[in-house]
Symmetry: C2
Subunit: 130 residues, 2 copies
Amino acid sequence: MNIGEVAKKSNLPAKTIRYYEDIGLITPLRDTNGYRSFRESDMHKLAFLGRSRALGFTIEDCRNLLALWDDQDRASADVRAIASEHLEQIERKIADLIAIRDTLSHLVQTCAGDGRPDCPILAKLEKFPT
Amino acid sequence: MNIGEVAKKSNLPAKTIRYYEDIGLITPLRDTNGYRSFRESDMHKLAFLGRSRALGFTIEDCRNLLALWDDQDRASADVRAIASEHLEQIERKIADLIAIRDTLSHLVQTCAGDGRPDCPILAKLEKFPT
DNA sequence: ATAGGGCTTCCAGTAGCTGGAGGGTCAAGG
DNA sequence: CCTTGACCCTCCAGCTACTGGAAGCCCTAT
């Protein structure tokens, strides 16, 4: 399979797939013309990567998850450790964003949003502590 | 005021302050020895920037907000437009993260996390659609 | 005079791609 | 046989918003 087809099937841009090869996440074969030749196992890994990335795992997490996936003797505890660490980060991020959203949505609501210059948003950014 | 003091007062790293000068957000004066010399107005802008950034505005948003702040004839509508655009992005991000969190927390809960290799997290990453 | 801390500039690196230049390859149509 | 267009290749640069570090000047205190 050439990269274009793989890109379509995996729903990843060809650029990204090449990048994943660059950083050693996959190692497709090469045809005599220099074109990458993807096996089923490569496709499989790319699908895995796509889903892991969609869940927000970092590339390094993905690398580790992929290694565990390949390792038939893995301990599920190792997988879970990565996932729950990531989960905690996400919880923190959500909390941060919610705090920001609350502040911001209050400000937006109190701003007239007309032609006059008075603006509680600017006032907040100017005066109040973070 | 030298950069060290400003950094302390504004709670921004000196590196960041220099960076903000680089990209034209502030333009402190210079002493004869080449040291940056910050006026009150620079401090004020840095505080504004710190708070804007803490609310997650991009640097370009900050640049625009700062310009509006400086402009006594601004329309509050312009400020509000920036803020509510940003707010929408945050809402979207929160929604995305919550979806991820729900998936992930379910997976983490169903994974035994022991010495055995069976792992629903890997199973999900392997098999199911994004 | 020297030691320390603070200041300067400039260069490189972070994460995870993405865009583009410049060029080779392949299959189909004329 | 030639051309056209759609592929593919590599390499380099750029994105965000900093951050770290090297090399070196400046200032103050001892």
